[in-house]
Symmetry: C2
Subunit: 141 residues, 2 copies
């Protein structure tokens, strides 16, 4: 299972430690193609690539992935863009949302029937959420 | 010309007055399908619709539109989602970005060859930007 993990980068890095928690747990379910999203040094690292190269690399990874797991608590144009593409490509999409942040999730994300939105209050919720997403559907086949 | 105008809603309404300025100028170029994005009362109005209904209405308008004009200064999952869809549908996309806000635009938006990104520092820039986007290509045909 190849997993594309998405989280805000230029939109704001306040949740970067949560991204790291999620990526660490996700590794039990497959290969995470985008570990750099959870890297606290990311901004400096990425400065060596231009926007076109980042765009092309990320879309190639998204096309290669079997599913998209997105942290959607911090608003982000890039994460929304990836979810828009993934829903067009009929990929499985799981969005993790932290209601305690005091925001409502975009209606375009919450209202899409191609997106599973799960509330995630702490790292302890992740195993159940990921088991439901990755394991349960396969068992039902 | 049917124009879909996109701006942050649940992501943050701090730019809503700019959205109104842009929509007012856009009306000289075509019919703006999404005037409600620039409505300062929007949150209250939209509470009467559920997320699925908003998603379906907005995607129907996006499919009907000839182009997407998006304000991308305030990060927004919904706006990113719409740009992702529009680039898949080969629509013309114009993104307006205000560099003075101290943010860098998402590499996925700035690096897409299907998206025209123009910096917009004040309402006085809009006529030239919109003339270039709406008028110049037609003249060249």
């Amino acid at each position: 299972m190849k997993i594309y993990f998405a989280g805000a980068i230029r939109g704001g890095r306040e949740d970067v430690r949560l991204y790291l928690e999620r990526v660490e747990v996700l590794k039990a379910y497959g290969t995470v193609l985008t570990e750099h999203v959870a890297d606290e040094q990311l901004t400096e690292l990425d400065e060596s690539m231009d926007d076109r190269a980042i765009h092309d690399r990320d879309l190639a990874w998204l096309k290669e992935a079997d599913c998209l797991v997105a942290e959607v608590t911090t608003p982000s144009l890039g994460v929304g863009f990836e979810i828009g593409k993934a829903t067009e490509w009929d990929m499985q999409v799981l969005c993790l949302f932290r209601p305690s942040a005091g925001r409502a999730l975009s209606a375009l994300i919450a209202g899409s029937d191609r997106v599973a939105v799960r509330e995630c209050k702490s790292v302890a919720d992740l195993d159940e959420i990921f088991d439901d997403f990755f394991v349960t559907p396969a068992t039902e086949l």
